[in-house]
């Protein structure tokens, strides 16, 4: 009988369901949605304020810099990885490589050739997208675990190359990366949001916020288009997608390139904020945490990925007073989460249905007789 289906149907009390909210959202007219969007942006703009910071970062940590250095970067990276993992269903364990390509592009071109921030930004996006294509072209013929292994290797290769190349000073890294040029000195509510200096982290946060919003709009529009349908079909059953006439290889490559470009843009801002980068900044741990953020939040769902990134970036910082135990507790929390809510904190409805079915279309094979069998299964459960 269909034991798996039954098991998932009565999943440990199910947790809070988001269905009523989703239902309202699906039927909400345009103006209501715009109100929500506006409220969210206003909320994001006021997020660095001290009243929020006193709760979010109580132990003397600098909340605005936590926001810009950790949370906003992670959110941006999670949005990029969400395209690859959540939408196209390609397990990428070396995502940090593209972040590194972005960081090293600005490091090389701004320090050696004195390009401006904005020029290097464009270049870095192109380079990281190119890196995505270079990695993807030979490897995207692999599937599942094999792809994960190869991407894991790629992440290490990029880091090792930086570590061993005297062109970028090896393990000492690159120093003296310029801040973005100040666009305007104007001041509002005690912030100069367009003045990128050393002391105030908030302008970087706002810069990242703009990147995040652009990334959301871009990814959202793609997801709602033919491209998004193609990704969904590849994720659910790649062979079947090819049989529907979806050029699967090309779309997987596109997912890699787009995810990489978003990650690269994050690397540029990171490098410009820190003014120096080391190969050690681009550790495997970053890939793992971003992936955890996407999966924890709800793979394939943009709000979910943002929420997951926020939690992954913020929780360990918030509980810094637990010292060495915090990573242990964090790991435990992830495990518990995967047991009780494997679809993530805020999954998309479709993703939930996919998980309920196990391995996609093939999961229902076997000696199954017509009829859903749900009622019988329920009786057995009594």
């Amino acid at each position: 009988m269909n034991l798996t289906k039954n098991g998932n149907g009565g999943r440990f009390g199910s947790g809070p369901s988001l269905d009523p909210l989703r239902h309202w959202w699906a039927g909400a007219p345009g103006w209501q949605r715009w109100i929500v969007y506006t409220l969210l942006i206003v909320g994001a703009v006021f997020l660095p304020s001290e009243s929020i910071g006193s709760f979010m970062a109580p132990s003397g940590a600098n909340w605005p810099s936590m926001l810009s250095d950790q949370i906003a970067i992670y959110v941006l990276l999670a949005l990029g990885l969400n395209v690859v993992v959540g939408m196209a269903g390609l397990l990428d364990l070396g995502y940090v490589a593209f972040y590194a390509v972005g960081g090293y592009t600005i490091a090389i071109f701004a320090v050696r050739y004195h390009w401006s921030f904005w020029e290097t930004l464009v270049l870095a996006i192109l380079f990281s997208a190119l890196a995505g294509v270079i990695l993807g072209a030979p490897t995207l013929r692999l599937r599942g675990d094999y792809l994960a292994i190869v991407t894991l290797g790629f992440g290490e290769i990029v880091k090792r190359t930086a570590n061993n190349s005297s062109f970028v000073n090896g393990p000492r890294g690159v120093q003296g990366i310029p801040h973005p040029p100040t666009l305007s000195e104007f001041e509002i509510l005690g912030v100069q949001p367009l003045k990128y200096g050393l002391l105030d982290s908030r302008p970087y946060y706002y810069l990242l916020l703009v990147f995040i919003i652009l990334a959301i709009v871009f990814v959202r529009r793609l997801d709602a288009s033919r491209v998004g349908r193609a990704w969904a079909s590849i994720r659910e059953d790649e062979d079947a997608a090819e049989l529907m006439g979806v050029p699967t290889f090309r779309f997987k490559l596109a997912a890699f390139a787009i995810g990489a470009a978003i990650g690269g843009s994050g690397g540029v801002v990171f490098a410009a904020k820190q003014t120096s980068i080391l190969p050690a900044n681009f550790d495997f741990l970053v890939s793992a945490l971003i992936l955890a953020a996407v999966v924890l939040g709800g793979s394939g769902n943009i709000p979910g990925a943002i929420l997951g990134a926020f939690v992954v970036a913020w929780l360990p910082e918030r509980f810094r007073f637990l010292d060495d135990y915090r990573m242990l507790i964090f790991g435990g929390a992830l495990v518990v989460m995967m047991i009780f809510r494997p679809e993530g904190l805020w999954p998309s409805r479709r993703r939930k249905a996919e998980l309920a079915e196990g391995t996609g279309g093939m999961g229902s094979m076997g000696a199954e007789v017509a009829g859903p069998g749900q009622s019988e299964a329920a009786e057995v459960g009594k």
Binding site: D239, M244, S364, A370, P372
Partner: protein
């Protein structure tokens, strides 16, 4: 000939799965490939639809050589397939699944959608249900309906009766006949040889990657060798088939036993 497969060889790594298969399908026919597990039936279909690369040989479709054409382009060329194990997109609704079938098309698909619902009223009832929550029979209907959405010239069906109750098998086969009557050529792969031979015009018998026999389907139904190997019993139809089809028995024997038992499908 609409579809011609000429002496194709296909390898999985070093293992030869197909060792020179030649099959041809004419416009308007139902042609079936029968054979035991591992005979190469599914590989043949996958090679035709482009999921497997061929080592040598040629596939010609509608007068063109498509041997090197990528799989997704073959859909637009006119080859539609309902894959083995059905390959339903579990997170998409029935309607979204059907519309995925028309992905390669840019024109209006409402006519084909209506036709799919007319052919499978069950799908119309469940159009907003997710594919993964449907029963095996409904998924099979969906897989066939989805393949038809691309308006294929030839429809490749891979074991449509697998895992279905006998009642449903009947229904699926009569729908296949109806699809054929409406003008779609069908290439059918089946383990349920009895049923397949009854609706097919011609049949090929595959054994370990080779065609061992090809003939009009009616002839094969009466062929003593084929009866013994694939249709269960055969030589002594009245006698109780001896329960010797143990796992170590040769595959033909095991398969014949199953087909004779009314074809309640195979589990893998």
């Amino acid at each position: 000939m609409l579809l011609e497969i000429e002496d194709i060889h296909v390898h999985y790594g070093k293992i030869a799965a197909l060792k020179g298969i030649t099959v041809s399908v004419d416009q308007g026919e139902i042609v079936t490939l029968i054979g035991a597990n591992g005979a190469g039936k599914t590989t043949t279909l996958k090679t035709i639809s482009g999921l497997r690369n061929l080592t040598s040989g040629a596939i010609r479709f509608d007068g063109r050589d498509i041997s090197r054409m990528p799989g997704h382009r073959r859909v637009s060329a006119g080859i539609g397939q309902a894959p083995e194990g059905r390959g339903i997109f579990p997170g998409m609704t029935v309607e979204e699944n059907l519309l995925m079938g028309a992905y390669a098309r840019r024109d209006d698909v409402s006519k084909e959608l209506a036709e799919a619902y007319e052919l499978f009223p069950r799908l119309a009832e469940r159009r907003s249900q997710t594919g993964g929550t449907m029963s095996g029979g409904e998924q099979q209907m969906l897989a066939i309906g989805r393949a038809l959405m691309a308006k294929p010239k030839v429809l490749l069906l891979d074991e449509p009766s697998m895992g279905l109750a006998p009642m449903l098998v009947q229904q699926i086969f009569s729908i296949i006949e109806e699809i054929n009557r409406r003008g779609t050529t069908v290439l059918l792969v089946e383990q349920n040889a009895q049923q397949a031979l009854q609706i097919a015009n011609r049949a090929y018998v595959l054994e370990t990657g080779r065609v061992v026999k090809s003939a009009p389907a009616g002839e094969l139904l009466d062929d003593p060798q084929v009866r013994a190997a694939y249709l269960g019993g055969g030589a002594a139809p009245d006698a109780e088939p001896e329960p010797k089809a143990e796992p170590e028995a040769e595959p033909e024997a095991g398969d014949g036993g199953q087909a004779g038992g009314g074809g309640e499908g195979t589990s893998r």
